[in-house]
């Protein structure tokens, strides 16, 4: 995609609030943006290093809980006589804590799976997510367990015009999600279009060959895991401060599945893939909501996903790119043909 198209899309996204007036539409956009950021982060691991993290929602949830807890304040009784107390902190600070804690968890999972690839990596990540969910459910002193963390401060709390009304709060949330999404996109883009990204792709394509030319594949896998987890954590934090209530259900497997579907249908290993997938599978539930039971919705998703993967196994974006390339080649070819025949005609005229 060329730079102009990119800027046009950014400009379009920035001006959305000029014509969007409906709270509900904002809600759809914001949730879609949050999950698209999650999908982008998953794509870094799944699409570029080739490792499927089926516990990706763990990082999302850890980000949500970390940011909520730090902004609400909490106390932890470490020993009988000592209690670790954290006073409520500003939301921006909590947000950065979420990035760091999720990133550390990504580092941990990356290290844990430093030799496991493929199916074993999937199992490590699923187990990790399950453990984290159980902790969130059972460590009631800290997380309130199933009672959920309530009254989480909204993202831009303290900014005066934010307090004005529900709609302007949504506008602010929309811009926060957009800003985080753009930064995440830029980070991922710079990584994958560099020597670092080549090392990740080398791991995906041919690990032995990568090692033989001196690529420390484990290092790049861990780096991808850290970055991916931190971005997923950022999405989780955005989610927490937007819906303002977090319970262990943020760790539901279905959220991971949603992100995986977005990445695979859009096109894993492409920058635009998760955006396209996020757009389709972010809007689709809202379009079908009024007409279908949730169970039927999931069947429709599944069917759509299977259709996409069946007909476009690489996903939508690579298919479009290929189509575009062949079309251009054909156009160049025909242009050359006509200019050649023009040349001939002129000669005849002379």
């Amino acid at each position: 995609m060329n730079t102009l198209a990119k800027w046009l899309i950014v400009a379009f996204l920035v001006t959305v609030p000029l014509w969007l007036g409906n709270q509900y539409q904002y809600h759809v956009l914001i949730m879609m943006g949050i999950f698209t950021i999650g999908a982008m982060s998953l794509n870094l691991l799944l699409g570029y290093t080739g490792q499927l993290s089926l516990g990706h929602v763990a990082f999302f949830g850890i980000g949500a809980y970390t940011s909520s807890l730090v902004s609400l304040g909490f106390d932890l009784q470490l020993t009988d006589s000592y209690t670790f107390v954290v006073e409520p902190k500003p939301v921006w600070f909590a947000f950065f804590c979420a990035l760091i804690v999720s990133g550390l968890c990504g580092w941990f999972v990356g290290k844990l799976s430093f030799r496991v690839r493929g199916a074993y990596f999937v199992i490590v990540t699923i187990s990790f997510a399950e453990v984290v969910r159980l902790v969130a459910l059972n460590w009631v002193d800290l997380t309130e367990g199933p009672m959920a963390l309530n009254n989480i401060p909204p993202l831009a709390s303290g900014v005066p015009w934010m307090e004005a009304g529900a709609l302007s709060r949504r506008v602010a949330n929309y811009y926060m999600v957009l800003a985080v999404g753009l930064v995440a996109f830029l980070i991922i883009q710079r990584l994958v279009q560099s020597r670092v990204g080549r090392a990740m792709i080398a791991l995906r394509e041919n690990e032995s060959l990568a090692k033989s030319v001196g690529v420390d594949v484990t290092r790049y896998l861990v780096l991808a895991a850290i970055t991916s987890a931190a971005i997923a954590g950022a999405a989780g934090a955005l989610y927490a401060h937007y819906v303002r209530i977090v319970d262990p259900d943020v760790f539901l497997f279905i959220y991971t599945v949603t992100m995986v579907i977005m990445v695979i249908s859009g096109g894993k290993g492409t920058l635009a893939g998760p955006l396209v997938g996020g757009l389709i599978f972010g809007i689709l539930p809202e379009l079908t909501r009024g007409h279908m039971l949730p169970e039927v919705q999931w069947i429709v998703y599944g069917a759509l996903m299977i259709l996409i993967v069946f007909f476009l196994p690489q996903g939508i974006v690579p298919a479009v790119q290929r189509g575009w390339a062949t079309w251009q080649k054909r156009r160049d070819q025909s242009a050359r043909d006509t200019s050649a025949s023009n040349g001939r005609r002129q000669e005849v005229a002379r």
Binding site: I187, S194, V196, R198, I201, L209, S212, D216
Partner: protein, 268 residues
């Protein structure tokens, strides 16, 4: 000038030493006891019948396999226990017997991955896309094009590696290894599957590589090529070294001839 010319060839430094190497796979003894060395700037061929243990020796030297016994050292540094990428960092780069490229990447991108060791941009510089990073990327791209021209694949640079003809893929493998800037290149049957013309070109390429002061350890079944390019030939049979010497000597060696004709007296 004359001073250099009087330097006798025997002062060549030994770079790779393999000492009493043994590799067992459970009960199977792939290498029983092998010792050999490679001097700087030499082209040494490691030959032997199928299953002799040549690839196994490569796997141990390049860190893909742990030795059961014995020591591998490069330029005085012990390699046992190092990971493959650390061994590549020491200057030893190997290719694989089975064709091995990054099939879904373009030819030039294959080389760019091979050039990994020549880049050094930190993660922060990469994220900030500093001028240094841009310059380095440009320089790497030029180096990649140069390497492709060197091996004669310049005209293929934007094709997918997986779409190349078999012989070209084999050439690309060598190019990827060369990109990693080896001081010792380990080639495992690089000409296997090449047609006679390609094999001949490849022989010339080996000569060019030698002129670049890259030491070469070659595993190859094509005896014409082996005898033509090697300074020395090491013969492995049933996990044991049975001969080590200049090509002319090896060709006359009765034990080698027996091993290759396959009806020598069975050893106990």
């Amino acid at each position: 000038m004359t001073l250099h010319m009087t330097t006798p060839a025997t002062t060549r430094q030994t770079v790779l030493t393999v000492d009493n190497l043994a590799v067992h796979f459970g009960g199977l003894v792939a290498i029983s006891d092998a010792s050999f060395k490679v001097d700087e700037g030499e082209v040494v061929s490691l030959i032997g019948p199928n299953g002799a243990g040549k690839t196994t020796a490569f796997n141990v030297i390049s860190g893909f396999l742990a030795a059961t016994k014995g020591v591998v050292a490069y330029k005085g540094r012990r390699l046992n226990g190092l990971k493959p990428h650390q061994i590549a960092d020491a200057g030893l780069v190997r290719t694989f017997q089975k064709t091995s490229v990054f099939g879904n990447d373009t030819v030039i991108d294959n080389i760019m991955i091979g050039l990994h060791r020549r880049g050094d941009a930190s993660i922060w510089q990469t994220l900030l896309l500093t001028p240094k990073v841009r310059r380095q990327e440009q320089a790497l791209r030029e180096a990649a094009a140069e390497i492709l021209d060197f091996v004669g694949l310049g005209h293929r640079s934007n094709e997918l590696a997986g779409a190349l003809a078999y012989g070209e893929q084999r050439l690309l493998e060598v190019a990827v290894a060369l990109a990693a800037k080896p001081s010792l290149l380990l080639l495992d049957e690089p000409a296997c599957g090449m047609n006679p013309t390609e094999a001949l070109n490849f022989r010339n390429l080996l000569g060019e590589i030698g002129r670049k002061k890259i030491t070469v350890l070659l595993v190859e079944h094509n005896m014409r090529m082996v005898m033509g390019v090697s300074d020395r030939v090491v013969v492995l049979n049933h996990g044991r070294i049975i001969a080590d010497g200049p090509p002319t000597e090896i060709q006359q060696n009765p034990e080698v001839i027996r091993a290759y004709l396959g009806h020598g007296p069975k050893h106990a």
